[in-house]
């Protein structure tokens, strides 16, 4: 029996096999890649130092003040000032609201008046039209007059629409101002991200450690004060957290924050560092 010994088919098979692999590897490398890994949770969590005299927040704050009142002396002063400022801001907001309401009422009145006028005009136009019909001679003239009126009416309608739009914008702005909570959250995330970028976790970090820092900030984003409120018990970890904030030096993002929100939430700001991604 003759046994096949030719090399042509094996060589062809081998070259084909390698070409296939080459195409797979080079042409479609992404095919082998895994899906993007899900975003890891933030290492740093920040809590807002909300100075609003809310019923929920109040007891906690007093507790803290009782716990270590001395280091809070200057903070208290700060708080008082802040409260005053905030009260003023609130009064301003209320005033604004009232004014807006007034304006809205006036606008409504004007609108109704306009409508009345319009109706009157329409009636008048109709009468005129009838008269023109009767006359027939001045038909063309009447038409011209009507056209002119039409354009006038259109203009009026446009004006009215514009007014309505302006009112809507005002309202939207008002809404965004009143629930600035969401905005505050996004600003907070920006700050957290900045700190996170500069944070290098020490090897001694363990799960469950938590250090809370209080940061005093100017509206320009410059950090003026930095204190450890609650130590994690590990000096290296505390230092790493402090370093992270110090390395940021200036939160340029703070410039984007509107002044009233800044005063309310970000003049005194707290970061809590916890290595949540650690296993051991």
């Amino acid at each position: 029996m003759k046994l096949e010994k030719s090399l042509s088919l094996p060589v062809f098979l081998s070259v084909f096999f390698h070409a296939l692999l080459l195409v797979l590897f080079l042409g479609n490398w992404n095919f082998f890649k895994k899906e993007e890994e899900p975003y890891k949770p933030h290492y740093v969590t920040a809590t807002l130092v909300d100075l609003k005299p809310k019923a929920k927040v109040q007891p906690q704050q007093t507790k803290e003040q009782v716990l270590d009142s001395k280091p809070y002396e200057d903070l208290k002063n700060n708080k008082k000032q802040d409260e005053q400022r905030r009260m003023e801001a609130e009064a301003l907001v209320q005033k604004q609201r009232e004014q807006e309401a007034k304006e809205a009422a006036v606008a409504e009145e004007q609108k109704q008046q306009k409508i009345k006028e319009e109706q009157a005009k329409i009636a008048k136009a109709k009468a005129e039209k009838e008269a023109a019909e009767k006359k027939r001679k001045a038909e063309e003239e009447a038409r011209k007059a009507e056209a002119a009126k039409k354009t006038k009416r259109e203009q009026e309608a446009q004006e009215e629409q514009r007014r309505i739009q302006a009112a809507q914008q005002k309202e939207a702005k008002h809404i965004s101002d009143t629930n600035d909570d969401a905005n505050t959250k996004s600003y907070e995330e920006m700050l957290i991200e900045r700190v996170e970028q500069n944070w290098s976790r020490p090897p001694s970090a363990r799960r469950g450690m938590e250090v809370t820092l209080e940061v005093n900030m100017l509206p320009t984003g410059v950090v003026t004060g930095l204190r450890i409120i609650k130590s994690s018990g590990d000096a290296a970890f505390d230092r790493a957290a402090e370093q992270a904030v110090r390395r940021v030096d200036r939160f340029t993002e703070a410039m984007q924050i509107p002044p009233d929100i800044f005063e309310k939430y970000f003049r005194v700001f707290r970061f809590t560092f916890s290595p949540e991604d650690l296993r051991s």
């Binding site: 029996m1 003759k2 010994k5 088919l9 081998s14 096999f17 390698h18 080079l26 992404n30």
Partner: protein, 228 residues
């Protein structure tokens, strides 16, 4: 992000590798291609040989007249290979020696056995053809790949030293490029090792089958010589 990923694709790395690393990669790809060609060829050859062996053995033990079996092979003009060639060599020598006058039975047996041994050695050579190449690819290509990697890493470290500002972004591409050489070496070596082990075991198995057959056949011839 996708832009940088495209920039760091494997093709890009290979094309930008230093000349020596490219040569190493080329050698390894060539070795892989050749060894795969040999793997396919060996696979076909050995499968056919073992098929032929079981077919012939069935025929041999079916009680067929040995002369007729020999003539069957004559009928086919092709070169006879595998187990049949051993049978034919032994039987041919046996009939020839018996036809010559004055040959004693021991000489006849010895002659036919020698003829079968020669045929067996030839078959062994055929079965184990190309296996040394697979063995050397299996043992050497990791070293060649490692050489390429070491060279590539050396070059990339020199580049870092010259650049003065080492960062991960400057180090990583060079090392990735160098590591491709090792990957290719392993890629060539692993199939070669597996194939070498498989084919040498199968060749050994077939050879022992041939040997057993040769012994059985010579026992039959021996009976024929001494029965007269």
């Amino acid at each position: 992000m996708p832009a940088t990923e495209n920039n760091l694709s494997i093709a890009h790395l290979i094309l930008n590798a230093s000349f020596l690393v490219q040569v190493v990669m080329f050698i390894l790809v060539l070795a892989s291609v050749i060894s795969w060609a040999m793997i396919f060829q060996r696979e076909r050859y050995q499968r056919k040989a073992s098929g032929a062996f079981s077919y012939f053995e069935k025929q041999f033990w079916s009680g067929i007249d040995l002369n007729q079996l020999y003539r069957q092979g004559n009928g086919r003009n092709e070169m006879v290979e595998g187990i049949e060639s051993i049978f034919r060599a032994g039987f041919k020598e046996f009939t020839r020696l018996r036809q010559t006058a004055g040959a004693d039975s021991d000489a006849v047996m010895e002659g036919s056995q020698r003829a079968m041994r020669v045929a067996l050695a030839r078959e062994q050579e055929k079965l184990e053809e190309n296996l040394p190449f697979l063995a050397s690819v299996a043992s050497v290509s990791p070293y060649i790949g490692l050489f390429g990697t070491v060279w590539g890493i050396m070059v990339s470290f020199l580049n870092i030293a010259n650049a003065g500002q080492p960062s991960l972004a400057t180090v990583a591409p060079g090392i990735a490029e160098a590591l491709i050489a090792t990957a290719m070496g392993l890629f060539a070596a692993i199939p070669a090792v597996l194939a070498y082990n498989k084919f040498s075991a199968r060749a050994e198995n077939l050879l022992s089958n041939y040997q057993t057959f040769a012994e059985e056949f010579s026992a039959i011839l021996h009976r024929q010589v001494h029965s007269k």
